[in-house]
Amino acid sequence: MVKMLVPYPDKCTGCRFCEIACTLYHEGKINHADARLQVHKRDVRIDFPSVCTHCVACKDECCVTACPVEAIKIEDGIVRVDEDECTACGTCVEVCPFGVMRMEETAFKCDLCGGDPTCVKFCSMGAIKYEEPKPEQYEAVRKLLKAEE
């Protein structure tokens, strides 16, 4: 089984360090909007991370099948965007149930930092773990996201 980012919403403190570390690693600069995962910080009771599930928990809202030009592919369990094929139509951003598909000149997303995710290293409370997927954890996040709408 390929390891994934697994969210544990009840452990999230809302510090947002994962977002900072993510963009610093990928872009060499910091901008929360470019982070490949998002921390939702709503009130004193609610903060949780939403991460890319790499097709494990997207069900029928999957970016891979939604992409009209087949620019999103699964390689070794990691969902990747082929930037040459991407037309930046935004469909994947719309369908992504976890809100972690981002768009600049092309779509871009979490690539698990090549198998050593930076966000996890800073998540000292264990709200994001790199391990075998646990569907119930993704469901918990999906429920929180639904409650927000």
Binding site: K11, C15, R42, V44, F122
Partner: protein
């Protein structure tokens, strides 16, 4: 500019005219003031005219993110607020862990300077280079959770909101500023916002933050993350938060001020100790922005008369002020009072000390329960403390008198009430009985914002016996404390300017900050240069205070510390004599190069290039 990490722009807002402008800064400015607290204090020091009233339009409210804020530094997400304090009439900073400072940097500014007064209730909206002063009639009277809720629904979830509660509107002298359930709590800066008709500051920034050396910055951040997590105390620190050592300070050291400092050992401690309440009431950890060592706790009460309470909290200081200090052994009541303070927007330390003071006055028959309008007694603390917090925040009934702080309240009450008012410079003290740690007592006096545990943090070296350059420190001795306090004040000035949490000072010593500053800004500093900046900041505050009429006579310790020895417990018999107080002050002034009256000399100001 060649310097990275800073935009070189300080946004100035004149609420009277509604106009905004940019003050351009450069590398020299950073070399001189560093950032965060250093910037905020520079803006207030140069912006507030001599003798201006703290609640007048002439006062300046500055907000400045620390150098590390927004960049990837574990525990480095602090933002400084500063103004002339309506509590102490001194230049006071208050540091918070809310995310608004980092957002301001993303919007393209290194700091914010607000002056003047809006004609009617308003809020400031900053979205990158769009600046608006909007009407806030619908926000007036709302609490510190309702305000961000309304504003986020209006402007989007990504905006950051710093706001005041009702207390700030009503110019309560212990009103705080709230952001993300974190507070710039001390020195009444919320009343400064209220005096300007400014209910909230809303910021949205979409720009990038570009460090000078991203790879190096990430490498440093990872290294410190590992050092921090490997520390033996990491588990306890995050499990129990800042109250972790409450039991030790109370029982082993006997310096936990109790019942308005009449005692220093709280026998009924059990419930207010986090070792009791954390497993029972805490459902998850809460952190400041960019903090990977969370001391905050989501404390929830799910049944009973305080059912529904949900706070980020129960800090050590609050466990004292609303707990032991009021003889309140009921943890649910302490949590409820904490929530009331947060929502109405007052500092938990000052509120608790003011209530404990009133309780002692009732105990001594100086005021009566009838005058106060409730049974504000030690044995009825559980019921009365949360209620009185609300009355202080709203200036209702007797709460109106206490909302002025213990110094002014004592003057108003008369009948010898001053004898029981515990404060320095009009600031209510934090949770360390300085009779049993004399250097910390000195730092209560020298702290430019009045009684404070964080301007010098002397309690830690004195309780542990060693820190940084020192070993074998005797907490009951006055020997060499002037030099230590002055040095620690300079140290902490650097901390507040880089925006690091003081919970990290055990492993993030000044020398270690140099490479972080360089990775962010590209600027090099020596350890001496950094401490010199800390010294400059302290001298600016000291110089400001003298110009505004606050001198040594206003610094002195309260009668309780000088006249009443600690009655029992491990520190039984300890007090600071008048002679010890004066010797420590003389010692300190000499180390600082100040006059015996507490004024920085012209030579000192010249040496530090303070104009």
């Amino acid at each position: 500019m060649s310097m990275k990490g800073f935009s070189g722009k300080i946004l100035k807002i004149d609420l009277s005219s509604g106009k905004d402008s940019i003050k351009s800064t450069d590398e020299r400015y950073v070399k001189k003031y560093l950032g965060g607290s250093g910037f905020a204090i520079e803006l207030v020091y140069h912006g507030v005219p001599e003798g201006a009233d703290a609640l007048s339009p002439e006062n300046v409210l500055a907000m400045a993110p620390g150098v590390f804020d927004g960049f990837a530094v574990p525990t480095g997400g602090k933002t400084a607020f500063a103004a002339k304090s309506p509590a102490t009439n001194t230049l006071a900073e208050s540091i918070m862990g809310g995310s608004i400072g980092a957002e301001l940097r993303h919007a393209g500014y290194d700091a914010l300077e607000i002056f003047g007064k809006a004609e009617k209730p308003s809020y400031l909206f900053i979205e990158d280079d769009k600046i608006e002063i909007n009407e806030a009639d619908d926000l007036w009277g709302k609490d510190t959770r309702q305000v961000p809720d309304i504003l986020k629904k209006r402007h989007g979830w990504d905006v950051k909101v710093a706001c005041i509660g009702v207390a700030g509107e009503k110019l309560v002298r212990m009103a705080c500023i709230d952001c993300d359930d974190r507070q710039a709590g001390r020195a009444g800066l919320g009343a400064v916002m209220g005096s300007k008709n400014l209910k909230a500051i809303v910021v949205r920034g979409t720009g990038d933050l570009e460090p000078a050396d991203p790879g190096k910055l990430l490498e440093i951040a990872l290294r410190y993350q590992k050092i921090m997590e490997a520390a033996p105390s990491f588990n306890e620190d995050t499990k129990y938060g800042t109250g972790e050592f409450l039991g030790w300070i109370n029982k082993e050291k006997g310096v936990f001020p109790t019942r308005n400092w009449q005692e220093s050992f709280f026998k009924e401690r059990e419930q207010i100790d986090p070792y009791y309440w954390a497993p029972r009431y805490v459902s998850k950890n809460k952190a400041c922005f960019a903090c990977t060592k969370p001391c905050g706790k989501l404390f929830e009460i799910k049944s009973g008369k305080f059912s529904g309470v949900a706070i980020d909290g129960l800090e050590y200081e609050t466990l004292y002020s609303l707990g032991g200090g009021c003889g309140n052994a009921d943890i649910e009541s302490v949590a409820k009072a904490n929530e009331v303070c947060d929502l109405v927007g007052i500092d938990t330390i000052s509120a608790g000390v003011a209530i404990g003071f009133a309780m002692e006055l009732i105990q001594r028959g100086i005021i009566t329960e009838d005058e106060v309008g409730m049974k504000l007694t030690w044995d009825n603390a559980s019921d009365s403390v949360p209620k009185m917090c609300e009355m202080i925040g709203r200036r209702e009934g007797f709460g109106d008198i206490l909302s002025e702080g213990v110094k002014r309240a004592a003057e108003k009450i008369g009948k010898g009430a001053e004898r029981y008012a515990v404060h320095t410079k009009g600031m209510e003290p934090p949770a360390y009985d300085v009779r049993g740690m004399k250097g910390h007592g000195l730092s209560f006096m020298t702290s430019t914002r009045g009684a404070c545990h964080l301007r010098a943090g002397m309690y830690a070296p004195e309780l542990v016996g060693k820190f940084w350059r020192w070993e074998g420190i005797d907490r009951l001795s006055i020997e060499g404390k002037g030099e230590k306090v002055a040095t620690m004040e300079n140290f902490m000035g650097v901390y507040d300017s880089v925006g690091l949490c003081k919970f990290s000072r055990g492993f993030f010593l000044i020398d270690k900050l140099r490479e972080v500053i360089e990775a962010i800004s590209g600027l090099q500093f020596t350890e001496e240069e950094l401490l010199k900046i800390g010294e400059r900041i302290h001298n600016m505050k000291g110089g400001f205070n003298v110009k505004h009429g606050i001198t040594r006579k206003d610094w002195l310790l309260p009668p309780r510390v000088l006249e009443d020895p600690i009655p029992e417990g491990p520190s039984k018999g300890a007090k600071i004599t008048v002679e010890e107080m004066n010797n420590m002050l003389d010692d300190y002034m000499a180390v600082r190069g100040w006059t015996t009256d507490g004024a920085p000399t012209p030579e000192k100001l010249k040496e530090l290039d303070i104009v």
